[in-house]
Amino acid sequence: DAGITQSPRYKITETGRQVTLMCHQTWSHSYMFWYRQDLGHGLRLIYYSAAADITDKGEVPDGYVVSRSKTENFPLTLESATRSQTSVYFCASHGPSYNEQFFGPGTRLTVL
């Protein structure tokens, strides 16, 4: 299926555990992004990537690691999860038009 997908859709983990959220897009878009959205708030940029092997920090990168070995995949890893990382995580890719991003369905992560 064409588009952008995220997995898992829901995840419950414990403090201190490593968690990886997956993001896959089929359009071969160069730019990809990870956002987090906390209850009642807007989206905050965690990391973004301009192309394979090129990543950069966003507004709230602490506690997160990203990699991008292939254009279509952009995984986000929480190396040692904390309760403050409980959030909904959205992955997005940038389309051909200015400022047009396509968002995945989100991953709801709960850290106990």
């Binding site: 992004f33 807007g42 940029l45 959205f90 038009s97 200015y98 400022n99 989100g106």
Partner: protein, 111 residues
């Protein structure tokens, strides 16, 4: 990236036209004005974008005055399904695609 200011919330009734205004006093020359819509439990969705004057598509219209320091998203004849959060963003092709999402405007459409 220019900062935007928009109302936190708005209420409307089905069938009415809704106008959401966004202020962006520090907009740069190459910035575009973009609006996203987000339904509960979904990711944001691009709905309209413009640079100046008026843009219309099948979903909404976007009005931008000559000074470009504000913009108005117009939703004609809203329905209950238009209940969502609407985000106004400004940015241009030189900003690496990074977007700053503010709090957005929560639109509640009532029957």
């Amino acid at each position: 990236l220019a900062k935007t200011t928009q109302p936190i919330s708005m209420d409307s009734y089905e069938g009415q036209e809704v106008n959401i205004t966004c202020s962006h006093n520090n907009i740069a020359t190459n910035d575009y004005i973009t609006w996203y819509q987000q339904f509960p439990s979904q990711g944001p969705r691009f709905i309209i974008q413009g640079y100046k004057t008026k843009v219309t598509n099948e979903v909404a219209s976007l009005f931008i005055p000559a000074d470009r320091k504000s913009s108005t998203l117009s939703l004609p004849r809203v329905s209950l399904s238009d209940t969502a959060v609407y985000y106004c963003l400004v940015g241009g092709s030189s900003n690496t695609g990074k977007l700053i999402f503010g709090q957005g405007t929560t639109l509640q459409v009532k029957p």
